[in-house]
């Protein structure tokens, strides 16, 4: 209808539509569909990028689960990091946003300061934290020591390296705070006032108004951050090289090593597919269970 009004017939309109979105179609083919197909094919071969690829079927998938001890270790490390990071990020971001959403002075200044770390490239923050975590000359241990606490080995310790990376990760939680804050500001005032009139405390507002209305945003950020955490790479690559004793060897770092250090393209691609399916599964579980705790206005 609109097309006819504009003096365009539908055919021409369709043609223009496809012309305008052609970069998207090409992009999806060249940078998504084709690489994924290629990756799937490569995962079924033995290939070092120099000689000819040799088809081996599912051998790579079997190898990584049965013979590669580091693979399961890298999965465990990555899951540990994710399970530690994501809930802490959500809680701290929500707390920060709630505090900023009260009548505090200097709200803008706080918002700016909280966001600053999110601006810093991961390489820079890795180098910076490498120095802060230094067990002898790092600021953190120095402060701990000066208040009479024991020094911690941070990234030099097998047990502390993943928690250390988590602390780093929480440092740049500011962008989530800003997203939550915008969500909080969108909550209708009359709903909160209704709770007050009914004699409700802050807890009731939180439990029955704020959390339900914010839940879609929490869900979205949880998934986005989970995907990010599962792809942990730069921090261990720069700071520890996966050590000590492979205790910070992340999934992606292991994939990278296999592909570019050991020249096992097939194995690396098989691992990438396992990571992909794992990510998909976890997202699916979160989505499926989310209907119990998320609330969409349209459902009323």
């Amino acid at each position: 209808m609109a097309g006819a009004k504009m003096g365009f017939n539908t055919k021409r309109q369709t043609l223009w539509g496809w012309i305008l979105i052609s970069p998207l179609c090409l992009g999806l083919t060249l940078w998504v569909a084709f690489p994924m197909g290629l990756s799937l094919w490569t995962s079924l071969t033995e290939w070092d990028m120099l000689s000819k690829a040799e088809f081996v079927g599912l051998k790579n998938y079997i190898t990584i689960f049965t013979e590669d001890e580091l693979f399961l270790k890298s999965v465990r490390n990555t899951l540990y990091f994710t399970v530690l990071s994501v809930p802490l990020q959500m809680i701290i971001a929500l707390g920060g946003a709630l505090l900023l959403n009260t009548q505090v002075r200097g709200k803008r200044a706080f918002r700016t300061i909280f966001y600053l770390p999110s601006l810093i490239p991961i390489v820079v923050s890795s180098v910076m934290w490498l120095w802060l975590f230094n067990s002898q000359y790092g600021l953190i241990n120095y402060l701990l020591h000066s208040v009479g606490l024991n020094r911690v080995q941070w990234i030099d310790s097998r047990h502390m390296v993943i928690p250390s990376l988590t602390i780093m990760n929480i440092w740049n939680v500011g962008n989530i705070i800003i997203i939550f804050l915008a969500g909080l500001q969108g909550i209708p005032k009359d709903l909160l006032e209704a709770v007050e009139i009914d004699g409700g405390r802050y807890w009731h507002k939180f439990r029955f108004v704020i959390i339900p209305l914010l839940s879609p945003i929490i869900l979205y950020n949880m998934i986005v951050n989970m995907i990010k955490c599962l792809q942990l790479f730069v921090e261990p690559y720069i700071m520890t090289g996966g050590g000590p004793v492979n205790s910070s060897l992340s999934f992606v770092l292991h994939i990278y090593n296999n592909a570019f250090k050991y020249g096992k393209m097939g194995v690396a691609n098989a691992m990438a597919w396992v990571l992909f399916i794992l990510t998909l599964l976890i997202s699916l579980v979160i989505f499926k269970t989310s209907c119990h705790w998320t609330y969409y206005e349209g459902d009323r």
Partner: protein, 277 residues
């Protein structure tokens, strides 16, 4: 009773916010402080909080130890083309998806959004193989070309924005004999300037901070961008910490300047992308 409770809550709020702010700032201040110290002073106990001898020489050494100016130029080169590509492609695509009715556009929109859920690192090895086939490893092509094909995050954001512009504008232009490219350039673009600014700023940040792309696709030190250039200071034998910190400070400086000069675009970009997911 009520009043003391109130005051207590206010004090606690400020206490949390201020300590949070301190935690955010101290690492950055420590970075700048360390960038002005000699390596010797950095490794002294008890720690020297404020360097007595400020060593600006670190900043000069950043440029003499490695070709840091070249890293800077390379990064600016790649970033410029990325912004250019992102601005054109995403506006075109978003216009096509929201303002022209044709079969298949809803599907394409969903497919595009679907890519947001793909872990980007999974595609990196096949992309490397692909660019190797094209014979473009160790060039800037793999870092620039994909920006001309749209990005799901930006497409989504611009679609949201374009839906707020009344369709009558396009129709009136058609009456005057305009065509789609003309409408995009003359009517939509001027109205979409704030949204385009958000696209430009975020593309700047993505490309400036990108580590994995340059790591995979660039081999020669002469071609490095800042993100991987910093790494050249770190070595198992000797790491010049003061110079490294100066290099890190120089890398984040443009980001900080950009942030403070365009803060409102940062905030609106974040909230647009994050809320409507």
């Amino acid at each position: 009773m009520m009043k003391t409770r109130r005051t207590g809550a206010v004090v606690l709020t400020y206490l949390c916010l201020v300590s949070g702010a301190i935690c955010c700032l101290i690492p950055l201040l420590w970075l700048v402080r360390s960038s002005l110290m000699s390596t010797e002073d950095m490794f002294k106990l008890p720690l020297i909080f404020f360097p007595k001898k400020i060593r600006f020489q670190n900043y000069a050494e950043v440029f003499t130890m490695v070709p840091f100016a070249k890293f800077y130029a390379n990064t600016i080169f790649v970033v410029t083309f990325n912004i250019f590509g992102a601005l054109i492609s995403n506006l075109m695509i978003a216009y096509g998806l929201t303002r022209i009715e044709f079969k298949g556009r809803k599907l394409m929109f969903s497919l595009s959004i679907g890519t947001l859920m793909l872990p980007a690192y999974v595609q990196l090895i096949p992309l490397f193989i692909e660019w190797n086939w094209f014979g473009k490893i160790n060039t800037f092509f793999p870092l620039i070309v994909p920006a001309f094909f749209g990005n799901a995050f930006f497409i989504f954001m611009l679609c949201q924005f374009l839906r707020t512009i009344p369709r009558d504008f396009d129709e009136a232009a058609f009456m005057d004999g305009a065509n789609y490219p003309l409408i995009i350039a003359k009517i939509i673009l001027p109205l979409a300037k704030p949204a385009m600014a958000v696209v430009a700023i975020f593309q700047f940040m993505f490309t400036w901070n990108d580590f994995m792309g340059p790591l995979l696709f660039l081999n020669d030190r002469e071609k490095f961008t800042l993100a991987i250039g910093i790494r050249t200071f770190i070595s198992t034998y000797y790491t010049p910490w003061g110079v490294l910190m100066a290099a890190a400070t120089l890398t984040i400086l443009p980001l900080i300047v950009l942030f403070f000069s365009a803060q409102k675009f940062f905030i609106s970009g974040l909230t647009l992308g994050g809320i409507k997911g």
